[in-house]
Amino acid sequence: MAEPSAAGRSFDEEALPHLDALYRVALRLTGDASQAEDLVQDTMLKAYRSWRQYRPGSNAKGWLLTILRNTFINDYRRRKHEPVAMDLEAVEPHALHRSIEEVDPEGSFFAQIVDAKVLEAIDALPDEFREVLVLSDVEGMRYAEIAETLQIPVGTVKSRLFRARRQLQAQLYAHAVEMGYIQPRESPR
């Protein structure tokens, strides 16, 4: 077998460690495991072929996620179901916390929700909210990296994140009440 080239070696070292993250983001973007697999595969091939454009030692994860997202937008169909949009403008920003302040001020109910439900709630977010939330709060990218990846201002990243987190909290809270993980003190009638 031929000795791998220097480019091949650095690709292996810099790009391959991000396969798990790429797969998770692909799952959240496509909402479908087999599409996610195709998307990751396409992304890795494209990345390999344009590896010369990557500056060694810079942000490989961000670079790969940019390719993944562009590939998704250009070549993949959007998820079938339209996410449930909540009327957030009508909701007072910190109403949720205030309503459970007395019963669970530290939000320990979050720990009781099973992984599958957490993912389901993320998947129900509108596309532009889900994207920033996954990159920031699941994959740990900095706001500046996300802004660069999505080609939007940092301020937009911040405001989308703010609303995405609130919407997700509201959804998980509703689920926790339904499951009896948490008992709101005064139930609305």
């Binding site: 080239s5 091949g8 396969l19 799952l27 890795m44 390999y48 709060d137 706001y143």
Partner: protein, 81 residues
């Protein structure tokens, strides 16, 4: 009270926990949380939420079959050159 008030502290809470505020604002929010019990509780709540997201939604891994397929495709690319 100098610095940020409750409304400002709450609006910046997520960014504060992510350490995404300017150093000045980081310090002001920190000072506010030290003094304000209500906002401190909010911060704990927000932190539980962010910790949950990080750990519970970040556990899925790339399937071994997909990883193997990608590696094989990359090796084939190398040999084409």
């Amino acid at each position: 009270m100098s610095g940020v008030d409750c409304a400002q502290a709450l609006t910046n809470l997520g960014d504060y926990l992510k350490q995404e505020l300017t150093p000045e604002l980081m310090a002001e929010v920190r000072r506010h949380l030290e003094r304000c019990r209500d906002c401190f509780k909010h911060a704990q709540f927000e932190e539980s939420f962010l910790t949950m997201l990080e750990t519970r939604a970040g556990r899925e891994t790339c399937p071994a079959k997909l990883r193997a397929r990608i590696l094989a495709l990359l090796r084939a690319e190398v040999e084409d050159h």
